[in-house]
Symmetry: C2
Subunit: 344 residues, 2 copies
DNA sequence: ATGAAAGCGCTAACAG
DNA sequence: CTGTTAGCGCTTTCAT
């Protein structure tokens, strides 16, 4: 309860009859300070319950030791693992993070960016909302020379630093796998094609079809938000198609799970009637029936890489302006939902 | 790129030929400042690209406007919704949050607490790790009069402020529901009983059995961590029991989903052979087969309530020392996994 | 309605 | 190896 006065380096200095500067240096392990005084300083600090005043320090040093993180959502295991990766690296480097999430709204994203700018973060890690059309709200950072690393949901044609997977390749692999299983009519359920991840995956899908001489049929493309409702509607749409598709590549595991459930309720057999491939390798994929074939996507690594690059830049160890695009590995995880031919 | 100098209130003052004090007051809408100067101040600030230096401000005001959040994990939709609730309220009130998670380790939790203490958070919201045995690492906060609100995983016998659901009642309702479905031998899969949430649910389970004259059989209690592996092992253990249980109350939806999968693989019919009730109402419950009966548990509300109470205390609007325990509503969501008798 | 001045706690340049 | 000093940008008495 006792709201005692905070201990400052002046208090320590007085007690030890040395100068505040010496205390400050000692606390930071400055080699110019003798072992013995350092020891005394640390002991007294501990004993008096001293804690650094980060505000005084930051005010003086003109840096916040804080990095901002803007996420489009944090409801998937993918996003939380990215966050965990970021957190690990930033904490090790002594940085705080301020997390803001846009709930997939470009407007909220802009507000978050503004807020973080005013909070003077030293750097920014961001994943764009699905409807973010331009990067204007990041201009202020760029003008002030505050580094930004984008991950996953990015603007690919700009010259910003981005950490991504090869979405086109993943789309290709997923579709090719369905073709290899004998699918001839492959639908694709995805979200807004203005967002890089979805357009790239779609490109890969198209390429796989083209290479295998399957005509691209636009009526097999279903664009939705990635909600449960959208999954149910997409499944209904699939059911109405004539002839019915025999394979679906779905850009998100959760929606894939919803689709599978809905299709099964309608009497469709998965994978016999329709083979399905998802995306993300969420925990859910192993628990539904049949287990879901999906693209594995290393969230933790992406987070770590994004954070490490940002921090190295901040420290001057490396320079972000040289490394534009970092591509993280990804792979196909084959489970029952796609195996028309049995285990390959 | 241009790393221009930061604009301060002095720059604004100089430009307007008024004093910095007036600028400061104007920026804070102090009524002593005339409408006209205020307007000029705001315009000039905007025009010059002024941003508040929170460090100078906090240094001066001796408060951080930051609250710390310690979570035992953030991998469930329950935890992320709590976080969303906290974020909503704190952001509205102009507070930042620093999020730390302990990965269910008491040691990491203590380290996080220490870190947040040194960061001088104005208040703390925390959920305990499964193996946190005492609250010693929060002593420093209490000594300094820094308010703490615990939620969900709490130490129930202390006199701290806690936001929880009535776990005993939930355990009771879940078990009673199984009994009503005709179950006579009900197993319980849970985690360490030293943690309040689990011990309370167990109490409710026991009470429901006792009230219905079912003998409590300790061999039907399985204690595990809540991993996938643990779920598989628990299911194996269930299969070996003789006679086999006809109902299971599982303290976590994810583990319940794993169990169901494993039991089904062994040829058990759910709910005919074994009825199952989970806990948490995770998204997963609606997607597995059969859909999972579970306890719904309002994460968002818990987060909002915890944050609101903390902030009101900080503002002096209310006092945490008066409100010790806040109980949030919760209810049973009935789905197929428990319906031996068909829809009730 | 506005200004002058002090000080929050720390660090860095300079001096010794 | 250690001390002196100034100042980071803001708020807040006290004056006027």
């Amino acid at each position: 309860m006792a709201n005692e006065k905070e201990v400052t380096i002046y208090d320590i200095a007085k007690k030890l009859k040395i100068s505040p500067a010496t205390v400050s240096r000692g606390l930071h392990n400055n080699p110019a300070i003798s072992k013995i005084t350092k020891k005394k300083i640390f002991e007294t600090a501990e004993e008096m319950g001293y804690r650094t005043n980060h505000f005084a320090r930051n005010l003086r040093q003109q840096q916040t030791k804080t990095i901002g993180v803007i996420m489009h959502e944090l409801n998937s295991s993918f996003m939380t693992s990215v966050l965990a990766g970021i957190e690990k690296i930033t904490t090790e480097a002594g940085y705080d993070i301020i997390i803001a999430h846009s709930s997939e709204s470009a407007k909220k994203e802009a507000a978050n960016a503004k807020n973080l700018f005013h909070k003077r973060v030293d750097g920014l890690i961001a994943s764009l909302a699905v409807d973010t059309a331009d990067l204007d709200h990041y201009k202020s950072f760029i003008n002030k020379g505050i580094p930004i690393v984008f991950f996953d949901r990015v603007e690919q044609n700009g010259n910003n630093t981005v950490v991504i997977i090869d979405n086109a390749k993943c789309g290709y692999i997923a579709t090719k796998h369905l073709i290899d299983q004998g699918c001839k009519r492959i639908a694709h359920i995805t979200s807004s094609l203005t967002r890089n991840v979805y357009s790239e995956r779609y490109k890969g899908y198209q390429q796989a079809l083209a290479e295998n001489k399957i005509k691209i049929d636009e009526s097999l493309l279903i664009i939705s938000d990635l909600s449960e409702k959208a999954g149910i509607e997409a499944a209904a749409q699939i059911l109405k198609m004539k002839p019915r598709p025999d394979g679906i590549f779905i850009t998100n595991d959760f929606v894939a799970a919803v689709c599978i459930r809905t299709l099964k309720e309608a009497g469709i057999k998965i994978p016999e009637d329709i083979a399905i491939v998802g995306f993300n390798n969420d925990a859910i994929g192993k628990l539904i029936e049949p287990a879901l074939t999906t693209i594995n996507y290393p969230g933790n690594d992406m987070g770590e890489i994004a954070a490490r690059n940002l921090i190295n830049h901040l420290k001057g160890v490396s320079n972000l302006e040289q490394t534009n695009t970092i591509i993280v590995r990804s792979d196909l995880v084959i489970r029952k939902s796609s195996l028309k031919k049995g285990v390959s």
